[in-house]
Subunit: 471 residues, 2 copies
């Protein structure tokens, strides 16, 4: 509240607005999700597990500022229409905005690598969990502010191919913990490789890869026959070319057997060979370490026009229509300063996107919305000090504890705890203190220097759909 | 990297900019601090301890969106000049910006309370750790983007006085952990009470409290004689009034004895009495629970014009000139919707401000910039899979582990670890595996299912100035 800013000043630089003129409740801003305290407990559990998994795999945390120069947010001279520009409100009216809010964590990361290349050790492994902003027209499933959790490995010479295998493993380990620990739905990651597809098309003498991919990408929406029609009529492919493209797109396997199926199509090209080998390594390693969670899917087209090798996308099982919750790929040039080129491979987990359908369906809940495990009841204001002493003893032993705000009758203090789903209420000070489990009503003598709650009650627990019905 | 956004789309909505046109290293933006991975380790340690302390005291986490409607960031019809306005870059050129980045966490919290009042349990205890933005002209110690950690308690009727005692205790417990665990400097919190000062002035028949406080606030800068001159000549106080104001401002005690010293000035007023009692409770309770860290200081003037009771500010011992690192106070009306008024009391820790002088002086360091405790060496690419298996066993037991990116000679792999200050390198797979402490050179047989590092090496450790020279 207030400050942390500025030396003692009688006229502070910022004053909280007191909303005394308001006559109605403020309304949410569309596209800017805000959580209730209970939902925030769930989100914290998710973020903690992502962080822990990333750190166990040796990724260092960085954060970048929220803004980038607008010209850095541009692509080939064109500013993305979804960028939010940021400008001092009292800037010169003719002044052009020079800064924008970042719309992903890749652009800031690429800039950070260039800016700090002299003091980073390469290959550099980093994770980054931050909000990003996109000035979209709001609609279901689109957010203007949302949280992403990215991992990337970047090098300053070449970047070894085994990192393309490592990154999806780390991501799947992270998502697997959300499934196993919190009951979020399991995921399925679909992987493809641009060199494979491009080589295959080259072997078929197809030149406009991007245009063909754009049609193939419609398979799920309009079906095989319509796509065949478009490929023949709009892209001018021969029936043989069309059939081969569709047959490639239909290949999806959870092991290396896709290689044989591609070979059976009798197309040959050196880039195709390279792509097959890389993709087989990803799928086979994943099959051993995170079985059932990753498939080679040769129709995946998203990102193939800007990633240069492996591409990843990931669906929540049971919520496939919601789109990808973890996407990424490899860039041969994530960044370059003219002298050095930095290749990178990475994945971005859309945390807000992951949670949104589950929150919307009421499928993710916390056992309580407060960290508090124990409420220390207060007999009267004179004994508040003794209650504080009990609370400090419990906190010193890692037990989150509140002191009751009012020396009401015990029944009312218990209702205070009950309304917050705080499991225990403490009465009195040692040597005559007792603790009551207000769910069972059981009340027993207890010493604040030794008593502990049921370990399951120590922190709020999260319950997701996979807790109820194993998938 | 990339997405987490959108269903499969051949033309993704955002494309990372590849900086291939850049010819020079990008430069930092003034006022937007970014940390090296090592500094980020320090910041994470700090934030983790703040969060843990807040949760042990029963504060629930919330986050609010980064933007508020501009009219909410206004004060009495006037927009704060430091606000950053936010607008879609391709908005209608005549369109006025309607949103701004929040400049503190109090305004958004007040709005959140009004918006969610129907589903919050009061008194509502929340903490909030987020970035805030101020479009200031950059200068030393001023930031345009910085992190605050706020705790507040808000009620929907009256808010009990003991919360004015509780809040500084929680804050001091949090800051004490930074001192004890991380070696940050200790702090001194200075507390005053508006009712005390206003009552005292009223008892002296001084009416323009704010103007007098503005002069008294200059004591540290221009000294007692100059302030006396200003009070007499500019505010028109009598010599008796002037002397009394200065004598009050000189009172500062670490216990309740300030009450006697104020009484000795022979001014009487009912508000003065109320203020003395409230302030005495804060100081006496703090003396018992966090001895030596809090004083009543009756010259503290900052915030007395908008807080309505207790006010807090906090200096880092040894870095007093840097200004307050934790400030706050009580509002009788933190928010109001016309029907209900919500009183609150809170404190804000300026995390960026706290760390800035220590980083600038090179006084805060981490034992390493990566989470990794063990690097598993790789003999050749064929045995990478075995190295991954060792790494997974170690990670499963909570030990952050990387697999070496390249099957170089062992000496080179050890240098990879050394450059990152990773303490251990693992060789081979069981039953013939060994682990080397690369600081001592000691190498011993080890089983990945049982071996653990020295607990002090498990995570990066932080070392601050108070580790070197106890205060």
């Amino acid at each position: 509240m207030g400050g942390g800013g500025g030396a003692a000043e009688i006229l502070p630089r910022t004053r909280p607005a007191l909303d005394s003129t308001l006559v109605s409740r403020p309304r949410p801003l569309s596209g800017f999700p805000e959580y209730t305290p209970e939902q925030r407990v769930v989100e914290q559990h998710v973020l903690d597990r992502l962080r822990e998994t990333f750190e166990l795999h040796g990724f260092a945390s960085i954060e970048t500022r929220a803004v980038e120069p607008l010209d850095r947010l541009a692509k080939q001279g064109e500013i993305d229409k979804e960028v939010y520009a940021v400008q001092r409100l009292h800037a010169d009216p003719d002044a052009k905005a020079e800064l924008g809010l970042h719309f992903d964590l890749t652009v800031p990361f690429a800039r950070y690598v260039l800016e700090n290349s002299h003091q980073l050790a390469f290959p550099f492994r980093r994770y980054q969990i931050q909000k990003v902003w996109r000035g979209e027209r709001p609609q279901e499933g689109r957010f203007r502010e949302f949280t992403q959790a990215d991992i990337d490995i970047v090098d300053n010479t070449t970047l070894a191919a085994h990192h393309d295998v490592e990154l999806p493993l780390v991501t799947l380990h992270a998502l697997e913990r959300l499934y196993a620990d919190l009951g979020l739905p399991p995921v399925l990651m679909r992987v493809n490789n641009r060199r494979l597809v491009q080589g295959f098309y080259a072997g078929l003498d197809i030149t406009d890869t991007a245009a063909v991919l754009r049609q193939v990408d419609k398979l799920d929406k309009i079906g095989r026959d319509k796509v065949a029609e478009l490929l023949t009529e709009q892209q001018g492919l021969t029936p043989t070319q069309t059939r081969a493209c569709l047959e490639l797109a239909e290949i999806s396997t959870g092991d290396g057997s896709f290689v044989e199926r591609v070979r059976a199509l009798k197309v040959s090209d050196p880039e195709l060979d390279a792509g097959l080998e890389l993709l087989a390594a990803v799928v086979e390693t994943a099959r051993r370490h995170v079985p059932g969670r990753l498939v080679a899917d040769l129709k995946i087209a998203r990102g193939l026009d800007y990633y240069t090798g492996t591409v990843y996308e990931t669906e929540l099982v049971g919520f496939e229509g919601w789109g990808s919750v973890a996407s990424g790929g490899r860039y041969d040039s994530l960044a370059s300063d003219g002298k050095t080129t930095y290749p990178g491979v990475g994945l971005s987990i859309g945390v807000t996107r992951l949670l949104a359908p589950l929150f919307a369906g009421g499928l993710l809940t916390a056992s309580r919305a407060v960290p508090t495990a124990v409420l220390v009841a207060v007999d009267d204001e004179e004994s508040r000090e003794a209650a504080i002493a009990v609370a400090e003893q419990l906190r010193g032993r890692g037990i989150a504890t509140e002191v009751a705000p009012k020396a009401d009758k015990y029944g009312k203090q218990i209702r205070y705890a009950d309304r917050r789903r705080i499991p225990y209420v403490w009465f009195g000070a040692p040597p005559h203190s007792e603790v009551k489990d207000i769910r069972t009503g059981e009340q027993l003598p207890a010493d604040p220097a030794r008593w502990g709650p049921d370990p399951a009650d120590l922190r709020p627990a999260v319950r997701g759909p996979a807790d109820q019905q194993p998938v």
